[in-house]
Subunit: 222 residues, 2 copies
């Protein structure tokens, strides 16, 4: 009876880790879209709110970390569960850093909103949507142990990188045509860089998922 | 007797993880300086060798990960050791990504070496030295559980960020004065960005060390 209870409790704890990770992922996705919205719609209040929201992401990181440590300490998980928990530990770090990137985007937004708009944003929102989708799919791949979905995330990273290069080139033409746009163009470029890093974090998660599922070093041979 | 042997063996395993992490850190430091050397001395062969060397970093990541998992599975470490091992798992990920950044620098070097030198590099090597020092000190802080050293690493990040901004500004003046330098200037700027990310990884490690030592959420309040 006691033993049965322990096993059941253990299952609940693993499920909680999984659900909290997905919840954190959802919050991070929201941050990505809010950060982009604050830029595109020149919404300074939203930028400030999103910067403040990052504390929630940070708190969740600490909570999930603690829960993983507790399970490791009390349940002595083996093989599959052990890999799941240690990967969860790594993934929360990536999610937390995605939150940092969103906060950085909002800081750039605060500056950009004080000056005239440089140009209508077209590729940047597309990049944000692609990056947010990558984050969601990477986490889905993790909780479902779905290597195919994880592979898709890795290949989507190329699209984000291409958008980033395209934005870089376009901003350069702006700067060259009118040097007075330089400061703003550099900020917009920095925003694109932040989104590229968000996508990189999602890719890192996806690579770790492939490694977890396949159990060998695909991370470094793909 | 059996029990005593187990405890001794456990101590050896923890020591091995610590030593392998330091070894990996040393290799990564070497990659940073070699990547910079290949750029400054226009040494294409060294750039290619450094790109190839990254496989060793990747292999070490897998090895240390595996060793951590084994210790977690077999020894059921408690409190302090548990935190050490789970942190080691996170730190190897940062070290591996630093290796990726060095590889990226070398890829830029391969392109830059095909064209005339843009300018003598002064701030970039300084940035590389600072970043490599941060990596070493962050790891030292980890193995010694030295929160003061970790705090120093975090504050050194500001210096690297300043160098990065300075390089960015300088490259902009180049591009504006002579648009034909644009492609090269963007590559050099990308190299600076890579070094900034190396320093960010070192900072991330240092923040985790502070968290480990102090045992509370300094990561997000500093």
């Amino acid at each position: 009876m006691e033993h049965e209870h322990t096993i059941k409790q253990y299952g609940i704890e693993l499920k909680e880790i999984r659900e909290q990770l997905l919840e954190m992922g959802g919050k991070v996705e929201l941050m990505i879209s809010d950060a982009m919205k604050s830029l595109v719609e020149r919404d300074t209040a939203l930028a400030e709110a999103t910067i403040a929201y990052d504390h929630q992401i940070n708190r969740m990181e600490v909570e999930i970390d603690d829960k993983c440590l507790q399970v490791l300490a009390r349940r002595q998980p083996a093989a599959r569960d052990l890999r799941f928990i240690t990967l969860a530990l790594k993934i929360v770090t990536d999610l937390e850093r995605i939150g940092d990137q969103c906060r950085n985007i909002c800081k750039h937004t605060l500056h950009l909103n004080k000056e005239p708009a440089l140009k209508p944003y077209i590729d940047l929102p597309r990049m944000a949507v692609a990056a947010a989708t990558m984050v969601r799919e990477a986490l889905d791949a993790f909780v479902r142990a779905d290597a195919d979905l994880a592979l898709k995330v890795c290949s989507d990273d190329t699209f984000v990188d291409q958008l980033n290069s395209q934005i870089q080139r376009e901003l350069l033409t702006y700067m060259m045509a009118d040097p007075s746009t330089t400061t703003r163009a550099i900020r917009v470029n920095a925003v694109a860089k932040c989104l590229e890093r968000v996508a990189d974090h999602a890719t890192n998660v996806a690579e770790m998922v492939i490694f977890m599922v396949k159990g060998k070093d695909i991370r470094h041979t793909a």
